[in-house]
C-alpha cells in the first residue's frame, strides 16, 4: 500500500482533506476528554485506532475513486462528444467545356482515394471505358444540398470534358467530393477523422475484439483472465506477443496516462477502466477506441484513430478497406513504430497474416477471403496526399478568419463542417514551385542551403478566394507562417498606388515625367535624397516607362507633384488600413505589408477596381447540414473602371518591357510588378492574369541581405508556379482613345518606326509626334497648342 498511499493523499480533493482535519480535531478533543476520566486499556486503544484508520482509509479511497470518476468521465464525454470541425477544400466542378483531360481527372480521383475497379462495386471507385471515365461517386452533404452516391460517365474531347451522363440522363454539372484537409479538435488540438458507431465496419469491431480483447463484451473494464492468457501466450512464445490490457484500459492509457510502468499508474488505469465500463455502453467505448487509438506518426503529426489511419496508410475511407487492410491497421496498434509498415514491412506483413488467420479461425472471414487477403501485399501508399491533404499554412488562415467571426466556444459545438476555398492541386503546385525554386536560387548564387525563406499566395482575381497559401519552404510543417505574419517593406510594389493617384489627378500614361535628382526637406529630420537602383538619372520620359522600369526618382517626383497625403489616402482605401510610414519614403515602398495584405492591394487592380479582401472560408455548417454562417463574396469598388483598366495596361507593360521582362510569360497577357526592399533584403513579385492574382515574397527570417531583386528572386518562383498553372491572358475592357507611343520617349509613333506601347490617352492630339513615322497631326490642334490651349 505505501507505494500509492502518498498520491492518494495528494490527489484527494480539497473537500475530503478538510473533512479529515475536522475529524482529526474532533478526535483529539474526544481523546482529551477520555483521558480525564480513566485510562483505557492498550488493546482498546489499538482497536479504536485501527477502526479509525480503516474509516479514514476507506473514505480516502472513496474520495479518490470519486475524483477518478469525475476525471475520466469528463474526459470521455468531452472527447466522445467533441466531434471535430471538419475542413474541406473546394470540390472540383465537372461540366461540359471544363478544361480537364482524362488523365488529370484520374489523378484528382486518386487523390480523393477513389480506386480503379472493373465493376464499380462501391462508391469511391472508377474505371476507364475507352476514352471515357466511369465514376461511382460517393455521397456527400454539400452546403446547398446533399448528394447521394451515384454513377456517372465523363466523356472527353481535346483535353476538355465533352459531356457527362448520369443514371437519369445528361448531367449539366456535378462535383467530386471535396478533399478533407483537416479538422479542428477544439478540446485537444489534434486532427482526426471521427466516426460514428454506424460507420465502424463490422470486421474492425469483431477483429479488434478477437486480437486485442477477447472478453471485451463480458469483462468489467479489466480482466484477470486476459492477463492470465497474455501471460501464458507470452511464456509459450518466449516473446511479448499479447498484452493483458483490455481495450478499455488501452483507451484510458491513450487518454492521459504516460507510458511509465509503475504499479501506481497501472492501478489508476484499472480503476479508470472499471469506472468507464460501469458508466458507458460497450459500443460507446469501442467507438471511442476506434477514434482515439494511436496508429503512427507522420512528421510532426500524430495519426490517431482508424479513420485517419485508413487515409494515411491506404488513402481510403475506412468503409472501403479490404480485410487484409483492416488486419494491417490492427497489426499496427501493438507497436506503431515496431510494426511501421513503411519501415518494417516484413514485420508488419507477418503480423497481418497472423491476424488474418485469427479472423479466419474465428469465422470472421471465409477461406476465400483469407486466401485473397494473404495473397495481397501490404498495399500501404506513401503518396504526398496520404493521410488526407494537410496544409497547415492555409489552415492558419482558416483559423484566423474563424476567430474574427466566432468565439472559440462556438467552434467547439459538435461536428461543424467548414467549407473553404483552397484548391489542393494549385496549393501543391505552388508549394512545389516555392521549395524547388528556392533550392535552385541558393545553388545558383552559392547561398547557404536553407537560408532563404519565401511565401506565396494565389487567389481568384474576381472574388478574392484563396486557392493556395504557402507560408514557407516546407509545406507540411507547422511553423512561422510568412504569408500571414512576415510583414516586410514592399519596395516598388507600392508604385502602382502612386501612379494610380497620378492618373486620377489628371495625368496619363503618356504624360512626361522627370527622372532627375530630388531632395526632400522634411519639416522635421534629415533631408532625403533618394536614388535610382542603377544610380543614374534617366531624364524625361512617359509615365508608363517610369513605372515599367521602376525608376525611383521619377516616382518620387510624380508622387510629390500629386501629393503624399492624397497617395496615402488612396492606399488606405485599397488595403483598408492607414500606412505606418507618413514620410515621402513611403513613395518607394518603405512600408511593411504581409504577403497576404500585398495580395489584397493587388486584388484592387486584378479585379478591375474592386477591393476584394482575400478569404478562405466559404461557409460553416452545423451537424445537420444547416449553414450557421455563410461568407458571401465581399467586394467594394475602389477604383473607377477606366482608371483600373489604365493601370492594368501599365502593369502589363511592366511585364512586356520593364522589370518583369525576363519572365518567359512576360508577353503572354499578364500584368505584374517586381519589388525589392533596401539592400536587397526582400524580393517581391505581384502579378495577375485574367483569372488569378498572386504574390510571392523571398527573404530571410533574420532579415539579412539576400542579394535578390524582385526579378531575380520572387519572379522566378512565380515563373515556376505559372509553368504548371498556365496563363489565362488578360482581356482588356474596351478603352477609348488608345494610342501607340514610343516606350522610351512617349512620342506618338508606329510599330514600324519605333519600339511602341499602346496606352489610353485622353487627348491624343496633344501628344508630340515622332518624326519620320508618317503621322500627321491636325492643324487645328497644333494651332491650339501654339496658343497654349
Amino acid at each position: 500500500m505505501p507505494e500509492y498511499a502518498a498520491p492518494i493523499t495528494e490527489l484527494r480533493p480539497l473537500a475530503a482533506r478538510k473533512a479529515k482535519s475536522k475529524r482529526a480535531a474532533t478526535k483529539s478533543a474526544a481523546t482529551r476528554r477520555s483521558t480525564k476520566n480513566k485510562r483505557p486499556s492498550v488493546w482498546l486503544r489499538i482497536a479504536k485506532f485501527g477502526a479509525l484508520a480503516s474509516v479514514l482509509g476507506a473514505l480516502g479511497v472513496l474520495g479518490y475513486l470519486v475524483y477518478l470518476d469525475r476525471t475520466i468521465t469528463k474526459t470521455f464525454e468531452g472527447r466522445r462528444w467533441s466531434v471535430p470541425a471538419q475542413v474541406y477544400a473546394q470540390p472540383l466542378e465537372l461540366h461540359a467545356g471544363a478544361s480537364l483531360d482524362r488523365r488529370r481527372l484520374q489523378i484528382e480521383l486518386e487523390r480523393l482515394g477513389y480506386q480503379q475497379h472493373a465493376n464499380l462495386p462501391t462508391p469511391g471507385t472508377f474505371k476507364r471505358r475507352g476514352e471515357d471515365l466511369e465514376i461511382y461517386l460517393r455521397s456527400f452533404q454539400f452546403m446547398e444540398r446533399s448528394r447521394s452516391a451515384q454513377r456517372i460517365t465523363v466523356a472527353f474531347r481535346n483535353a476538355h470534358i465533352a459531356g457527362i451522363s448520369g443514371e437519369a440522363g445528361d448531367v449539366a454539372l456535378i462535383r467530386l467530393d471535396p478533399a478533407l484537409i483537416g479538422s479542428f479538435f477544439p478540446s485537444h488540438g489534434e486532427d482526426r477523422v471521427v466516426l460514428t458507431p454506424e460507420e465502424v465496419p463490422h470486421l474492425l469491431v469483431a477483429g479488434l475484439k478477437a486480437i486485442e480483447d477477447r472478453n471485451f463484451d463480458q469483462h468489467i473494464g479489466f480482466s484477470l483472465r486476459g492477463i492470465a492468457r497474455a501471460f501464458l501466450v507470452n511464456l509459450r512464445s518466449g516473446e511479448r506477443r499479447q498484452g493483458g490490457s483490455t481495450l478499455t484500459q488501452q483507451l484510458v492509457k491513450s487518454y492521459f496516462l504516460d507510458n511509465s510502468r509503475t504499479i501506481e499508474r497501472k492501478l489508476k488505469e484499472v480503476a479508470m477502466a472499471v469506472i468507464l465500463d460501469w458508466r458507458f455502453s460497450k459500443e460507446d467505448l469501442l467507438t471511442a477506441y476506434v477514434n482515439e487509438i494511436f496508429l503512427g506518426q507522420n512528421g510532426a503529426r500524430a495519426i490517431h484513430g482508424f479513420g485517419l489511419g485508413a487515409q494515411f496508410y491506404f488513402n481510403k475511407h475506412l468503409s472501403e478497406l479490404d480485410p487484409d487492410e483492416i488486419a494491417t491497421l490492427i497489426a499496427i496498434i501493438r507497436g506503431p513504430s515496431f510494426y511501421n509498415p513503411f519501415r518494417h514491412p516484413e514485420r508488419a506483413l507477418e503480423r497481418r497474416d497472423r491476424i488474418l488467420n485469427t479472423f479466419h479461425n474465428d469465422g470472421l472471414i471465409d477461406t476465400a477471403q483469407l486466401e485473397q487477403g494473404l495473397a495481397q501485399p501490404l498495399g500501404v501508399v506513401a503518396s504526398p496526399t496520404s493521410g488526407g491533404a494537410y496544409y497547415p499554412a492555409f489552415m492558419d488562415r482558416v483559423r484566423q478568419e474563424l476567430r474574427t467571426l466566432y468565439d472559440p466556444e462556438a467552434l467547439e459545438s459538435q461536428g461543424l463542417r467548414i467549407f473553404t476555398t483552397i484548391k489542393p492541386t494549385v496549393q501543391e503546385a505552388t508549394q512545389q514551385a516555392v521549395s524547388d525554386t528556392l533550392a535552385q536560387i541558393e545553388a545558383d548564387r552559392r547561398i547557404e542551403g536553407g537560408a532563404l525563406q519565401a511565401a506565396a499566395i494565389v487567389a481568384d482575381s474576381q472574388t478574392g478566394e484563396i486557392h493556395a497559401l504557402v507560408g514557407g519552404r516546407k509545406g507540411r510543417v507547422d511553423g512561422f507562417n510568412r504569408a500571414l505574419n512576415a510583414s516586410r517593406p514592399v519596395g516598388s510594389l507600392i508604385k502602382p498606388v502612386v501612379y494610380l493617384s497620378a492618373i486620377e489627378s489628371g495625368l496619363h500614361l503618356g504624360s512626361t515625367v522627370h527622372d532627375e535628382p530630388v531632395t526632400i526637406e522634411p519639416e522635421f529630420g534629415e533631408p532625403w535624397t533618394p536614388k535610382n537602383f542603377d544610380d543614374e538619372f534617366h531624364g524625361d520620359m512617359p509615365m508608363v516607362r517610369a513605372l515599367a522600369q521602376s525608376l525611383n526618382l521619377a516616382t518620387v517626383n510624380v508622387g510629390m507633384q500629386v501629393g503624399l497625403d492624397l497617395i496615402q489616402q488612396r492606399f488606405r482605401t485599397l488595403v483598408g488600413h492607414d500606412p505606418d510610414n507618413p514620410y515621402p519614403s513611403f513613395l518607394l515602398g518603405a512600408e511593411s505589408l504581409s504577403p497576404l495584405k500585398t495580395l489584397e492591394l493587388y486584388g484592387n487592380f486584378a479585379s478591375g477596381g474592386f477591393r476584394t479582401p482575400p478569404k478562405a472560408v466559404i461557409a460553416v455548417l452545423d451537424e445537420s447540414g444547416r449553414a450557421i454562417s455563410q461568407h458571401p463574396f465581399a467586394l467594394e469598388q475602389t477604383i473607377d473602371a477606366r482608371h483600373a483598366a489604365t493601370i492594368n495596361r501599365a502593369l502589363e507593360i511592366v511585364m512586356a518591357k520593364g522589370t518583369g521582362r525576363s519572365s518567359p510569360y512576360a508577353r503572354q497577357g499578364v500584368a505584374g510588378k517586381t519589388g525589392t526592399s533596401n539592400d536587397n533584403r526582400d524580393s517581391w513579385f505581384a502579378g495577375f492574369d485574367n483569372s488569378a492574382v498572386s504574390v510571392v515574397w523571398i527573404g530571410r527570417d533574420d532579415n539579412q541581405i539576400t542579394g535578390l531583386t524582385g526579378a531575380s528572386g520572387a519572379l522566378r518562383i512565380w515563373n515556376a508556379m505559372t509553368a504548371t498553372r498556365g496563363i489565362d491572358p488578360l482581356v482588356h475592357p474596351p478603352s477609348e482613345q488608345l494610342v501607340d507611343i514610343e516606350f522610351t520617349t512617349g512620342l506618338r509613333a508606329r510599330a514600324s518606326c519605333a519600339d511602341i506601347v499602346t496606352v489610353p490617352v485622353p487627348d491624343t492630339e496633344r501628344l508630340d509626334i515622332k518624326p519620320g513615322c508618317g503621322i500627321k497631326n491636325r492643324l487645328g490642334n497644333r494651332v491650339r497648342r501654339w496658343f497654349g490651349g
Binding site: Q90, Q150, Q462, A627, Q630, A644, N690
Partner: protein, 161 residues
C-alpha cells in the same frame, strides 16, 4: 461569333430538354428539379436569352438559385450563384443575378457592390450594361434614392425596344 453560336446552341438544347419527354440535364442529383426556362418578363431576367454567354452548367445553377429564391431560401440562392461565379467569374449576368439575390435577402450593401461589379464587367456590351444599371436602379430605390433610380431607369430603359 463562335461563342454566340454555342450559346444559341445551348439555349436551344435547354429548350428541348425542358420540354416534356426529353431527359432534363440535372445538377448533382438524378431526379432533381429539371431546368426550366425562366418565363418572367425578360426585363426582370437576365439569363436564358438567346444571346447569353452563360454555359449550360452555370445556367443550371441559376435555375436552382431561382427555385431557392422562390422558396425564400436566399442563403442557398446566393450559394448556388456564387458557385456559378466560381465557374465563370467574369460573367456579368451571374453578378446581376447575385446582386438580385442579395437584394431579395435584404443585403443592400452587397447587392449594390455586386451590381457595380456587373456594370464593370459588362464593359461595352450594351445589353448587359443596361441590365446591370437597371439592377442598380432597383437597389438605389431600395436604398431610398428614388430620384436616382428613376434617372437610371429613364436612361437605360430607352434602348429596350
Amino acid at each position: 461569333m463562335l461563342r454566340l453560336c454555342l450559346a444559341l446552341g445551348f439555349a436551344l438544347l435547354l429548350t428541348a430538354c425542358a420540354s416534356p419527354g426529353g431527359p432534363p440535364p440535372v445538377v448533382e442529383e438524378s431526379g432533381q428539379a429539371p431546368i426550366e426556362r425562366d418565363t418572367r418578363d425578360p426585363e426582370g431576367s437576365s439569363v436564358d436569352r438567346e444571346s447569353t454567354d452563360t454555359s449550360s452548367a452555370t445556367l443550371a445553377l441559376v435555375t436552382e438559385a431561382r427555385s431557392a429564391s422562390a422558396a425564400r431560401n436566399h442563403a442557398n440562392a446566393v450559394a448556388y450563384l456564387e458557385r456559378a461565379v466560381r465557374i465563370e467569374p467574369r460573367n456579368a449576368e451571374l453578378w446581376i443575378e447575385l446582386s438580385a439575390a442579395h437584394l431579395k435577402n435584404g443585403n443592400l450593401a452587397a447587392a449594390n457592390q455586386h451590381a457595380r461589379k456587373a456594370i464593370a464587367l459588362a464593359g461595352s456590351n450594351e445589353r448587359l450594361g443596361r441590365l446591370a444599371w437597371l439592377q442598380l436602379a432597383d437597389i438605389r430605390e431600395a436604398e431610398g434614392s428614388s430620384a436616382e433610380a428613376s434617372a437610371i431607369r429613364r436612361r437605360y430603359r430607352t434602348g429596350e425596344g
